[in-house]
């Protein structure tokens, strides 16, 4: 990893903060479900374009957007399928919009090619996936967390994406804004990985004043068209952008391309391009990883979880502590890039990791990879359809502590 990849982000907004456009911000204290809170997050983040296709249990996000946007000033378009929705948002982005789409299970599968296109063309955009049970049509109305590997690896080829995992309606709001901000900072597609439970649970959601919501503007170039090169990386490996209609006469292609954006299909360009697409996200695997932790100082056993499972795991952690077991909490919020630096550090001083998730073992492979042996890694799998029984997680913690 190049030295500059871990440096503080060359994000202009860090020096010149920008705030939300008040038109989209529903300031106040609300009682919202996760899907609706996510929608409010998109509006606060500045999204004025959404394209979607109906699918349970995610449709409420765009239903609310369709209801809200005509008075805010923007467009929701219901496309003919998820393939169309996932590329229409990218057209809108190159037209100058902040844009997103929303889906679940089968729809997420259909969007995979365009996640790769967004990664390759460095198009900042947001994909919300409210996870349901799979494979195939599976359990349309019931929860799972079984798309985690798909979010990272689902499109062909090597590339990098960011994935965030909220565990409450409040976080659906907050992390959706963060997803848009990270998309702009790194010029990548960002996945907001809800699950059916988080999407449909209703809780208090506090929406601040617009001037308290930080929004990252697109990194538009100041260079004149004659000098500007659309894929020439800055110091943080992220290139600056332009939008259509400004005289830059730029070219965007999903083919392997050079710094000008022209197809250049040779081994050295491929190597340079693909490595950069992955390496530019390195800070998120390290010092900028987003995690929620507790009791790690003295922990023997660390429970690694995310999304709805983290709330079930909390009960097991509390019960273990009551029994005198030194259990700690490591809640993954930024799941991709995997926050490996933190796990590597923990692995050197804890006995075991317990990893409950609503799948047959996905993020647990990442924990195993990062732990590299010194600490045991114990999966607590679940095929989905409901959440874990906390006692199963507790049992795993008790066994791990021995």
């Amino acid at each position: 990893m190049p030295a500059n990849a871990t440096a503080a982000p060359a994000n202009r907004t860090a020096r010149h903060p920008h705030f939300a456009d008040p038109k989209g911000v529903l300031t106040g204290v609300h009682f919202l479900d996760g899907d609706h809170a996510c929608c409010e997050g998109t509006l606060a983040a500045g999204a004025r374009f959404a394209a979607g296709y109906p699918i349970t249990p995610s449709t409420e996000v765009v239903e609310r957007f369709a209801s809200r946007i005509p008075t805010v000033g923007g467009i929701f378009i219901q496309m003919e399928d998820e393939l169309a929705a996932s590329i229409a948002i990218q057209g809108a982005v190159w037209g100058g919009a902040k844009a997103f789409t929303v889906t679940s299970g089968p729809g997420f599968s259909l969007m995979m090619e365009h996640i790769g296109y967004a990664a390759m063309t460095e198009t900042p955009c947001v994909f919300v996936n409210v996870q349901r049970g799979g494979p195939s049509t599976g359990l349309p109305t019931l929860p799972a967390q079984a798309d985690m590997m798909q979010a990272k690896w689902g499109s062909h080829g090597d590339y990098g994406i960011i994935a965030l995992c909220p565990n409450s309606p409040q976080e659906c709001f907050d992390l959706t804004i963060q997803a848009f901000n990270l998309a702009e900072e790194f010029r990548v597609p960002v996945m907001v990985m809800l699950d059916e439970c988080v999407g449909h649970m209703t809780e208090k959601v506090v929406i601040p004043q617009a001037d308290a919501i930080h929004v990252t503007p697109r990194r538009y170039t100041n260079q004149p068209p004659a000098e500007f090169r659309l894929f020439e990386p800055r110091a943080d490996q992220v290139p600056e952008m332009v939008r259509a209609g400004e005289g830059y006469r730029f070219h965007v292609t999903g083919l392997t391309h050079d710094e000008r954006g022209y197809p250049n299909m040779n081994v050295s360009t491929q190597d340079r391009t693909v490595r950069r697409l992955v390496d530019k996200l390195a800070p998120l695997a390290n010092d900028r990883a987003i995690c929620d932790t507790a009791h790690l100082e003295d922990a023997d056993v660390v429970v690694v979880s995310y999304g709805i499972t983290s709330r079930v795991a909390q009960r097991a952690i509390d019960q273990a502590r009551q029994q005198g077991i030194r259990a700690g909490k490591f809640r993954i919020i930024s799941a991709w890039p995997f926050p490996e630096a933190r796990v590597i550090e923990l692995a050197s001083r804890v006995k075991a990791f317990v990893v409950p998730e609503l799948n047959l073992g996905q993020m647990v492979h990442e924990v195993e990879r990062a732990a590299r042996g010194p600490a045991r890694v114990i999966p607590v799998t679940h095929a989905g359809g409901t959440v874990h029984d906390p006692s199963i997680i507790l049992k795993a913690i008790v066994e791990a502590a021995q």
Binding site: A20, D21, A51, P70, A85, A92, P217, N222, G245
Partner: protein, 303 residues
């Protein structure tokens, strides 16, 4: 970002070898198209149409899918997007909705627009999205080696129908009309003047416009069917084309060697997507309706 607007019409540099040079990325020449291929001819007509229509080239974007014609975006010196296979139209839809000032031209092939992308075509036509769709129809999948397309006429030999195509082909102009297109025309690459004029016409027309251009593929379609070279295709187009302006599109289907009905079949005024949206929202929301400003304000202000 610098807001640069070139004066139009474009000045032809004195040292240009060809008047279309200002419209092309000359640093990308030579192009990949085969001798006798018609795609370059259509690009020539397109540049002529841009010139004659006095379009502000900074506000014209070209969106292509994948395939031989998909490469047009890479050669046009405009804001240009080479998207994924079949998805040029939905990408163009997002681009147009984000910035309605843009003249968005979708330039792609028959396989891209009507097989893998067929669903998007009919829905964009149904919405009367303000897109200008130019389909270079070479009757085959050329980039991948001459496989059967939904436009390949019956009986001909293709890489995937080595014993002859037996599936019926789409009649693209009929499909476009039925789906709701505001403008439907067909020409061949022999009809360069008419094609350029048609392209100029759609650049000035609102709504979903469709031009089909029958174009030779000597390398993968004609050779396999002993139909000669590019010049033979021109002779066939000249001899077999019949001008049928306003003809019922249902009577304009193509065969391997029969008549080619050319002309403008449909030119009608329907409210486009934006008019429909505004109309409905104003009717239900009245003064509460806010004109769509899709471009990110924060990004523009920070610019």
């Amino acid at each position: 970002m610098n807001h640069v607007t070139l004066e139009t019409p474009v000045e032809i540099p004195a040292d240009a070898h060809n008047p279309v040079e200002p419209f092309l990325r000359m640093d990308r020449m030579p192009h990949i198209w085969c001798p006798g291929c018609g795609i370059g001819t259509t690009v020539n007509c397109f540049t002529r149409a841009l010139l004659d229509s006095k379009a502000n080239l900074d506000k014209v974007a070209v969106v292509s899918g994948i395939g031989c014609t998909g490469r047009v975006a890479g050669y046009a010196r405009l804001d240009s997007f080479h998207t994924t296979h079949g998805r040029a139209i939905p990408f163009a839809t997002g681009l147009k909705l984000a910035n309605p000032e843009l003249q968005v031209v979708v330039y792609s092939g028959d396989g891209d627009l009507f097989a893998i992308g067929g669903n998007h075509f009919i829905h964009a036509a149904r919405r009367n999205m303000d897109l200008k769709v130019i389909c270079v129809n070479n009757l085959t999948y050329a980039m991948t080696g001459g496989q059967t397309a939904p436009t390949t006429p019956g009986k001909v030999i293709s890489a995937t129908n080595p014993y002859g195509v037996f599936e019926p082909a789409f009649n693209l102009v009929q499909l476009a009309e039925a789906a709701g297109a505001s403008y439907v025309a067909r020409w061949t690459t022999y009809h360069v003047k008419q094609l350029a004029r048609s392209m100029e016409e759609v650049l000035k027309k609102k709504g979903f416009c469709f031009i089909e251009v029958i174009s030779p593929c000597p390398t993968l379609y004609q050779r396999r069917n002993k139909m000669g070279d590019g010049l033979d295709a021109m002779k066939y187009y000249k001899q077999a084309s019949k001008l049928r302006n306003g003809a019922p599109t249902g009577e304009c289907g193509l065969t391997a060697s029969g008549e080619i009905a050319v002309g403008k079949f449909v030119d009608r005024d329907r409210p486009d997507y934006f008019e429909l949206l505004r109309g409905q929202m104003t009717e239900t929301l009245g003064d509460h309706f806010a004109e769509p400003e899709v471009m990110c304000k924060v990004c523009c202000d920070a610019d």
